[in-house]
């Protein structure tokens, strides 16, 4: 055991024995560099935002002229006839995305919970690897899978098949972001709940997941926005429809499909409507994401 004398002076170097150093004033070069680097940072932000605004501005320029009440309330007219709209595709997109979210969000969040709370082992590693691979699978391949899983069995194209294809695409993104967000919740928060006699599954759902809510929702919205504009997986699942369809087991129109069909058609009127459709699609996605954000913010407490 150490004695009294050693703990007062152990390892302490007297200030007087440290060589005198003088810290030079901040040079002109460093001050200039400071401003240059700040400028570079601002410039890169502008470069990142530029394409977004450029796309949006171009869509407004090309599409706004064709957006009117008829476009939002009527179904397509036969080629050559003026007028008509994409109401059925707007509704169809919403239905397909609702199905995709209903299937994909719980599955993705569930997988994320497994990875973060129970997956710190080999099984978790396998799931992580598979989910990363799934994330890299081309969307048209996922369309083929949904074709095999749903369309072949039902014997016809359907909104359900389109929803399944998009759900499969949503799962890996949601799972991995949910995992990361749950891992950010300090262990001390979980321990606080255990210490109150709260069971593990209850802690995970009511404490850990709740603490990570805003991050998990970001992941969900990211996945949603990503699949909302997908066309390839819908080509032979939802298939598209020129008429109203309210049944989830029948071929269903979707905005992205309608844009695709119109854009490759030879008719000028259809080209204009494709631009308008693209604008509506973007506005719907931005609107949905913003609405969720506002709703979440509204439910957050002061200081949280």
């Amino acid at each position: 055991m150490p004695d009294t004398d050693s703990n007062t002076a152990a390892g302490f170097v007297p200030q007087s024995s440290i060589p005198q150093i003088s810290i030079p004033p901040i040079s002109l070069r460093r001050r200039v560099m400071d401003h240059v680097m700040t400028g570079v940072a601002v410039l890169t932000v502008a470069l990142v935002l530029l394409p977004l605004f450029a796309i949006f501005a171009y869509l407004v320029y090309k599409g706004i002229g064709s957006i009117n009440l008829a476009f939002l309330t009527q179904i397509p007219k036969p080629p050559g006839e003026p007028g008509g709209g994409m109401a059925n595709a707007i509704v169809g997109s919403m239905v397909i995305l609702a199905i995709a979210s209903l299937l994909g969000v719980p599955l993705g969040i569930g997988a994320g919970i497994f990875l973060s709370e129970y997956g710190r082992n080999r099984y978790g590693d396998i799931v992580r690897f598979v989910s990363d691979v799934l994330n890299g699978v081309p969307s048209i391949v996922i369309g083929i899978v949904a074709y095999g899983l749903v369309v072949m069995r039902q014997k016809h194209f359907s909104a359900l098949a389109g929803g399944v294809a998009l759900a499969i695409m949503m799962v890996p993104t949601i799972a991995r972001t949910t995992e990361q967000m749950l891992l950010l919740v300090p262990q001390a928060i979980r321990e606080a709940a255990y210490g109150l006699g709260v069971s593990r599954w209850r802690t995970t759902l009511s404490i850990t997941l709740r603490t990570a809510t805003s991050g998990v929702i970001t992941g969900v919205m990211l996945a949603f926005a990503r699949v909302a504009g997908e066309t390839a997986p819908l080509l032979f699942t939802a298939f598209g429809n020129q008429y109203w369809n309210w049944r989830t087991d029948q071929p269903t129109a979707a905005l992205s499909l309608q844009i695709f069909t119109y854009a490759i058609s030879p008719f000028d009127e259809w080209h204009r409507q494709a631009w308008a459709g693209a604008l509506v699609l973007i506005v719907l996605i931005v609107g949905a994401v913003a609405a969720v954000r506002i709703a979440v913010k509204h439910g957050t407490l002061a200081g949280a």
């Binding site: 055991m1 321990e191 606080a192 109150l196």
Partner: protein, 252 residues
């Protein structure tokens, strides 16, 4: 009312490393017992064995016998049932950040399925009152998050949260180590009052604190309980040389 704690031949491990060696101790009901000792000597590990928090760490395990009142901790009792009777306050205040002050205190009851709104209100009021926080938070119980409070207030919120499930034993793992002297004073005062209803085991690095709040003190060194006796005896006339060296500040 509090209940006593009996520990017999307790050994605790992290993987292959043994952290506690053959601990024997009897803690008296409705008294405060302080555990002192240098960092890494097993004090925290020991109190985490009393409510089975130790086993939440991967590869950690325990053997030996622990009785909380007449409840055998490592013999068929479920960890969740046990932890409702043995509350815990941690070193760093850990309120649930997304919950309001009210919900933080009510969390233990709500998450265990208790839904009676009127009784919840009453329990929350009483717990915040007993943790000396009521006057400071009563105007924004539902509006402010638990994380919006100051450090000392957060720690008292955590104490209120632990009291709300009405435990018989309260374990405190260095509850004042991150607090200023004023907040520390408030919490020590609180411990004095809480003793009437709860059995308190408090880990502390601050020997004056142990002397102020506890009737009994245990001294830990390198995973062993060196000495356990009345606080007065430990600080004035310890029977072990190592205890004397530690409390007189010769090492640690």
């Amino acid at each position: 009312m509090g209940v006593g704690i009996t520990v017999e031949h307790l050994n605790a491990f992290y993987g292959k490393t043994q952290a506690l060696f053959d601990i024997n101790i009897a803690v008296l009901a409705n008294h405060a017992t302080a555990l002192i000792g240098p960092s890494g000597c097993g004090k925290s590990t020991f109190i985490r064995c009393l409510n089975r928090m130790h086993e939440t760490i991967p590869e950690a395990r325990v053997d030996g016998k622990v009785l909380i009142g007449d409840l055998s901790v490592y013999n068929g009792t479920s960890a969740t049932q046990l932890r409702r009777r043995v509350g815990m306050v941690f070193q760093k205040a850990n309120p649930f950040p997304t919950m309001s002050i009210y919900d933080n205190v009510a969390a233990g009851l709500k998450l265990n399925g208790f839904r009676n709104r009127k009784q919840l209100d009453e329990v929350v009021h009483k717990s915040l009152h007993n943790s000396a926080l009521w006057d400071e938070v009563k105007d924004h119980l539902h509006k402010k998050s638990g994380a919006s409070l100051s450090g000392g207030q957060q720690q008292r919120l955590c104490i209120a949260r632990a009291l709300a499930v009405q435990p018989e034993v309260l374990l405190m793992d260095e509850p004042c180590s991150a607090l200023d002297p004023i907040s520390t004073g408030k919490i020590e005062e609180l411990i004095f009052q809480l003793k009437e209803q709860y059995t308190i085991v408090i880990v502390t690095h601050n020997m004056q604190q142990a002397a102020r709040v506890a009737e009994f003190t245990g001294f830990f060194l390198l995973g062993k309980m060196i000495e356990f006796d009345k606080t007065e005896k430990i600080f004035t006339n310890p029977s072990d040389k190592r205890t004397e060296d530690y409390v007189t500040g010769r090492f640690g």
